[in-house]
């Protein structure tokens, strides 16, 4: 198989950790070697968080470096911009179109960059953009943003849908499973392809 590197970026509290754990399980089910690098502690408190999922024949470093990510799964626009150099040439950005102001912006010491999506597109980034927050709300749980995005990713990947569903059943607690299965489907079916290529 060829190696697959997926980088997940967002704001602490958005559920990036669960997304990376699910991806790790999906990789294992495919029989790949896999490493998932997580973030715990300080930066989980509303800071910029990054997790890495690497799969392939043999994975050494758990860290994805600049220019190595096949997919950049961004939970927030500014975070997509911050980490875009990690996306490989020809890779895909899956973006949740949401703005969460960081503290320097909230207190007026910095400005939230304008027109992030346009700038990324003009820079040559191939992307899938989706309002996962809205979709998650419609599915019944605002916290399912992560699963909606995984749905989008699942569709773009060439891993069978059943594998994803099985991983979800194993990792997600029973009482919130249904909402999340709906969220996954919505992501899987819902995205309109805005890629330039």
């Amino acid at each position: 198989m060829t190696d697959l590197n997926i980088m997940i970026v967002g704001v602490g509290g958005q559920g990036t950790l669960l997304a990376s754990r699910l991806l790790g399980n999906v990789a294992m089910k495919q029989g790949f070697d896999v490493k998932v690098s997580e973030v715990h502690g300080m930066s989980q408190r509303g800071g910029s968080v990054v997790t890495y999922v690497k799969m392939g024949e043999k994975v050494y470093s758990p860290i994805i470096e600049k220019g190595e990510a096949d997919y950049l799964l961004a939970f927030e626009n500014l975070e997509a911009l911050r980490w875009i150099d990690y996306l490989k040439n020809g890779g895909t950005l899956v973006l949740n179109d949401q703005q969460i102001d960081p503290m320097p912006v909230i207190i007026g010491k910095a400005k939230y960059p304008e027109k992030i999506i346009e700038r990324l597109r003009e820079g040559g980034v191939r992307m899938d953009v989706i309002d996962a927050l809205q979709i998650a709300k419609e599915c019944g749980n605002i916290k399912s943003v992560n699963i909606v995005l995984l749905g989008v990713l699942a569709k773009t990947s060439n891993i069978a849908k059943e594998v994803w569903l099985e991983a979800m059943r194993e990792v997600i607690p029973q009482k919130i499973l249904d909402v999340n299965l709906r969220a996954f489907d919505a992501g899987y079916n819902g995205t309109k392809d805005t890629s330039k290529a």
Binding site: G46, G47, L78, M103, I106, V125, L133
Partner: protein, 580 residues
């Protein structure tokens, strides 16, 4: 069976399989999940101890009593536990004793990036270091065998990227869990000078034996590739080196102390250029250079921060990164913040308003040092807030002391604040100490502690009564206040800092992330808003300044209403509801 496991989870599994009976720890990123996972097994007793020193002493007691025992902490925790460490090295063990210590290169969640390997050398205790989750499990088991075979504690060192990365682990059965007999043996376990002198000789003899063992142990491995380049490395650095150097030859040191001199010399003789790749201090490098071997290492690589494959490529092969996308990525930083609804926010609002000098401490509340509250002057180590406030008063006099408070969390107070409080009373200080009691150990991800009323397994238990405790040590002025009652809080802080005797204020309101804490849901700002921006002063991430408009982000707001109390125009109301 194979399972994807966090390094820390694999350590817990290793402890289980090794037959561990007792586990004690104090939480600390990146080590916390070790003991959280151990607590899931009913075959092992586990506890959150008040601090690392006590945790290690509990583990030593269990070991002397004949059980295999494990004790876990972050790197700075080993400073706290260093006292028992140096002497348990002399006594040795009965049941195997393993000390897990997790370093944090890059300081993802720490106040320094000390290199714990020096503790192994200083205390003459062997140390292992795994490079993935499978090795986390295997090395913990190996450590117990070494501990019992050589009659010594063994330290297993992790770093953040090992502790917090998941990789595939093969699961096995539990073994060796019978208790060894307890035999009273004062010559071994009572360390008075006469006995300790004899034990020190035993330690030196053991070190020689361990050095010989290091030459043959399978935790040290050689992978031969091209011999033009040789790399000596260990732990996470091995993984980065594998990616950066590719098919060269590697000596991976699973045992980082003591080092196998012969193995290293032989390896060095067979390769061309020899690199030593290790994060932080030149711990291997200096020892290898002393053996007269030429290496490349810290002359080109940093002693600060984390390594990565790309850092190695850049420093060693001068390979630079080329951008794929023509996008300017300059963007505002996103530092961590106190959560929406955080009770600490009320405290910092008051402290800032009163313009006090605040000796701070370590916990979620350390974030109060950042903009916009900026009301913390110092943060050194757990418990330091109290001693430092006392020291400031002694240095600058009572008037300065009246403008100074010490603040620390409930878990931090129990960890090492109590002794500071006693010092203030005993040495006639007048400091005001504020305990930010949010009913949990927050920063490390919600662990129970002696003030919360629950054990690590969630069993109800007696709570430490902080007010009574303070009275018992001689503090006559003890006040309990809700930090969201900002007016009352302000009045109390003023009164207590004015008073010419020591006082303790317990600011009580539970962490907003606790399951039983329910606020009424998002607020919104209505047309009454005069854009005075008072509400922005508390630095709540849910309140955003859109320039012409102040808004509340309903996806973040929990409805704690602290902002509402700051609004003079009744402009902040329940979303979809009415004024209140």
């Amino acid at each position: 069976m194979k399972k994807l496991m966090l390094g820390n989870e694999a350590v817990a599994r290793g402890a289980y399989e090794a037959g561990v009976r007792v586990a004690a720890a104090y939480p600390g990123t990146p080590s916390t999940e070790i003991t959280e996972n151990i607590a899931k097994y009913d075959e092992m007793y586990s506890e959150w101890s008040p601090n690392e020193k006590v945790a290690l002493e509990v583990a030593i007691g269990a070991s002397v009593a004949g059980a295999r025992a494990i004790c876990s902490m972050k790197h700075v925790g080993l400073n706290v536990a260093a006292d028992p460490l140096f002497t348990v090295s002399y006594t040795g063990v009965n049941g195997g004793l393993v000390i897990m210590v997790a370093d944090d290169p890059g300081m993802h969640s720490s106040q320094n990036e000390q290199d714990s390997r020096f503790y192994a050398r200083a205390s003459k205790v062997p140390m292992l270091e795994p490079s993935n989750s499978q090795e986390c499990k295997d090395f913990v088991k190996a450590a117990f065998d070494i501990s019992e075979r050589f009659d010594c504690p063994v330290i297993v060192r992790l770093s953040t990227r090992i502790a917090h990365s998941q990789s595939i682990v093969e699961i096995n059965k539990r073994q060796n869990d019978e208790l060894k007999p307890y035999v009273k043996d004062p010559a071994k376990y009572v360390m008075m000078p006469a006995m300790a002198r004899a034990r020190h000789l035993a330690v030196e003899k053991r070190m020689a034996e361990l050095k010989a063992f290091a030459e043959e142990t399978p935790v040290n491995t050689i992978e031969w590739g091209s011999t033009d380049i040789g790399v000596i490395t260990s732990g996470i650095s091995y993984q980065y080196a594998r990616e950066a150097f590719g098919n060269v030859s590697y000596l991976k040191l699973g045992m980082v102390y003591p080092l196998p001199d012969k193995l290293i010399t032989e390896f060095a003789a067979k390769v061309g250029t020899l690199y030593v790749i290790e994060e932080l201090e030149p711990f291997f490098e200096n020892q290898i250079r002393k053996m007269g071997i030429k290496v490349i290492g810290k002359d080109i690589l940093p002693v600060t921060g984390e390594y990565s494959a790309s850092l190695l490529r850049q420093k060693i092969f001068n390979e630079a990164f080329e951008k794929s996308y023509d996008v300017d990525v300059q963007s505002p930083v996103r530092p961590p913040v106190m959560c929406p609804g955080c009770p600490h926010r009320g405290t910092f609002h008051v402290l800032k308003k009163l313009k006090l000098t605040v000796t701070g401490d370590i916990g979620c509340y350390t974030l109060g040092a950042l903009s916009p509250t900026e009301s913390m002057d110092t943060c050194i180590c757990m418990g330091a807030s109290i001693g430092m406030a006392h020291g400031m008063e002694k240095a600058r006099g009572r008037e300065f002391g009246k403008k100074t408070v010490a603040i620390l969390g409930d878990s931090t107070f129990i960890h090492s604040g109590i002794t500071g409080l006693i010092d203030i009373v005993y040495n006639k200080g007048c400091s005001t100490v504020i305990i930010l009691d949010n009913s949990i150990t927050g920063m490390t991800g919600h662990q129970q502690n002696p003030t919360t009323g629950f054990t690590i397994k969630g069993e109800p238990v007696k709570q430490v009564d902080l007010a009574l405790l303070a009275k018992a040590v001689g503090i006559d002025r003890v006040r309990v206040v809700d930090p969201f009652e900002i007016k009352e809080f302000e009045r109390i802080v003023k009164e207590e800092t004015e008073a010419d005797e020591p006082s303790l204020i317990i600011a009580q309101r539970p962490c907003a992330l606790l399951k039983n804490v329910r606020y009424e849901g998002p607020r919104m700002i209505n047309e009454n808003c005069k854009k005075c921006r008072s509400c922005l002063r508390i630095g709540c991430p849910a309140i955003v300044d859109k320039g012409d408009k102040i808004m509340i982000n309903s996806a973040l707001c929990v409805g704690c209403k602290l902002c509402t109390k700051l609004c003079s125009f009744n402009a902040i109301v329940k979303a979809g509801g009415k004024n209140d």
